[in-house]
């Protein structure tokens, strides 16, 4: 066999394998969107400093004063949120605080947190992120499990990066 032909065969095999890898990778990302993350899995991920993950909270940022008495703390971001979560109400830039908007990175692995893990809101937001999963049960499930929560206004991290942390 001539060296030129041998080289072409090797390169063809490597190209085919690379294309398979890319297509499987894309398929994996699509499948992950369909599988919600449980609160236990999210807690484990956040506890591991090696895992870089972004938590996007799509609940209303704050509740108007007149509705404050009726609303529960988990109804809005400033009432209770997962530590490090970035507010992005309804995935609408116009409703998002400016300092939070600057921290949102569409290319980081992202977990969408709504009040109860509503798949409709997740579908709407999933289009804005490349690798994204829904939090099953939303903040309600997180609250029921008794995992740590923060309250109050959003404070951007001092040393860059937009991920959640515990």
């Amino acid at each position: 066999m001539s060296p030129k032909l041998e080289r072409i065969i090797y390169i063809t095999i490597i190209t085919v394998l690379s294309l398979m890898l890319i297509s499987y990778g894309k398929k994996e990302i699509e499948l992950q969107k369909q599988i919600p993350l449980t609160v236990d899995q999210l807690y484990k991920k956040l506890s591991n400093p090696k895992v870089s993950i972004q938590i996007i909270d799509v609940r209303p940022y704050e509740i108007p004063e007149e509705e404050e008495d009726e609303a529960e703390e988990i109804d809005y971001y400033t009432g209770a949120h997962i530590p490090g979560a970035i507010p992005f109400p309804d995935c609408d830039e116009s409703k998002t605080p400016e300092e939070a908007l600057e921290q949102i990175n569409p290319y980081l692995p992202t977990v969408i947190v709504s009040k109860d893990g509503n798949p409709e809101i997740f579908k709407k937001c999933a289009e804005k992120f490349s690798v994204v999963q829904n939090l099953a049960g939303g903040i309600t499930a997180w609250d029921e499990e008794g995992y740590p929560e923060d309250e109050g206004e959003y404070e951007p991290p001092r040393a860059g990066g937009g991920g959640g942390c515990l």
């Binding site: 690379s18 499948l31 369909q34 599988i35 919600p36």
Partner: protein
């Protein structure tokens, strides 16, 4: 074609093959999970429909 070049090609093919097999296994597991979740969602929707 030198032996070194041939060995490098084979190493690349081996690494890519292992990655493809690993990813395929992950994909099968994910597909299984996705099926379970979709069937669970469909059945819970049906139950909801019956209640109405």
């Amino acid at each position: 074609m030198s032996i070194i070049e041939r060995v490098l090609f084979w190493i690349a093919i081996l690494i890519l093959s292992v990655a493809v097999v690993g990813l395929k296994t992950d994909l099968s597991e994910l597909e299984q999970k996705a099926k379970e979740i979709s069937s669970y969602t469909v059945s819970s929707d049906d139950e909801g429909g019956e209640e109405e």
